[in-house]
């Protein structure tokens, strides 16, 4: 998805993991993905640089769709759709 499309996306679940370092955001995503249904969108907020690569890889491997990442002021907004 384009940045503009992502900016207009309202996630079904937003996970704020900005207070944690790796693997905090990944574990938060893993926990939260069980709380949404297939086809729903989850947005993970992370200030951890490593997570930017980690979560898309994890999402794709686990059969979800990585939609894209927006860089905000000091943190990332990572979007994925549950498979």
């Amino acid at each position: 998805m384009t940045t503009e499309e992502l900016q207009n996306t309202t996630a079904d679940k937003v996970v704020d993991a900005r207070g944690t370092a790796c693997p905090g955001p990944l574990l938060a995503a893993k926990k939260a993905i069980g709380e949404i249904s297939s086809g729903q969108v989850m947005e993970i907020l992370s200030a951890d640089e490593g997570t930017r690569r980690d979560i898309p890889k994890w999402a794709t491997k686990k059969g979800h769709e990585y939609l894209g990442t927006i860089e905000d002021s000091g943190f990332f907004r990572i979007f994925m759709k549950k498979g």
Binding site: T20, A21, C22, P23, L26, L27, K30, K31, K62
Partner: protein, 140 residues
């Protein structure tokens, strides 16, 4: 359904820094839905004694950096190694087995002598068998 991948870890260390490393790797494995068996050996068994656990705060490597490391970890909200292991166990299929000999060295004979994370006491044969069947095997 595809069977989960397996990780086997031999945890020999009682240094809190390396225990945190183990906790971080374990977290990644659990996020990947791997089944994990951790065999707690020698100094690991010391850290797992009920009276030790989260109180373990020394590292054998660069002990002069202990204070700096602890301060940084705290400011970054990095959990303690016990918290890492506890969360991993809540989220996935993770088992901790204490080596019987190592346990005895530190005065622990029964699983109840160790922190609640410990699932059982084991012999080395079980560890070798687990390592043989693991997709990922590591020694920390």
């Amino acid at each position: 359904m595809e069977e989960n991948k397996k990780m086997t870890m031999a945890l020999c260390t009682g240094s809190f820094d390396k225990l945190i490393v183990a906790g971080i790797i374990l977290s990644g494995a659990v996020a990947e839905d791997m089944d994990v068996e951790i065999y707690v050996l020698l100094y690991g068994a010391y850290a797992f004694k009920k009276e030790n656990g989260a109180k373990i705060d020394t590292s054998s490597e660069y002990p002069e950096l202990n204070r700096e490391l602890k301060t940084s970890l705290e400011s970054m909200n990095v959990p303690t190694w016990v918290d890492f292991f506890t969360t991993a166990k809540e989220l996935g299929n993770v088992k901790f087995y204490i080596c019987g000999t190592a346990g005895k060295i530190w005065g622990g004979e029964k699983v109840s002598d160790f922190i609640d994370l410990a699932d059982d006491i084991c012999g080395i044969g079980e560890y070798v068998d687990s390592a043989q069947n693991a997709d990922v095997h590591m020694l920390i």
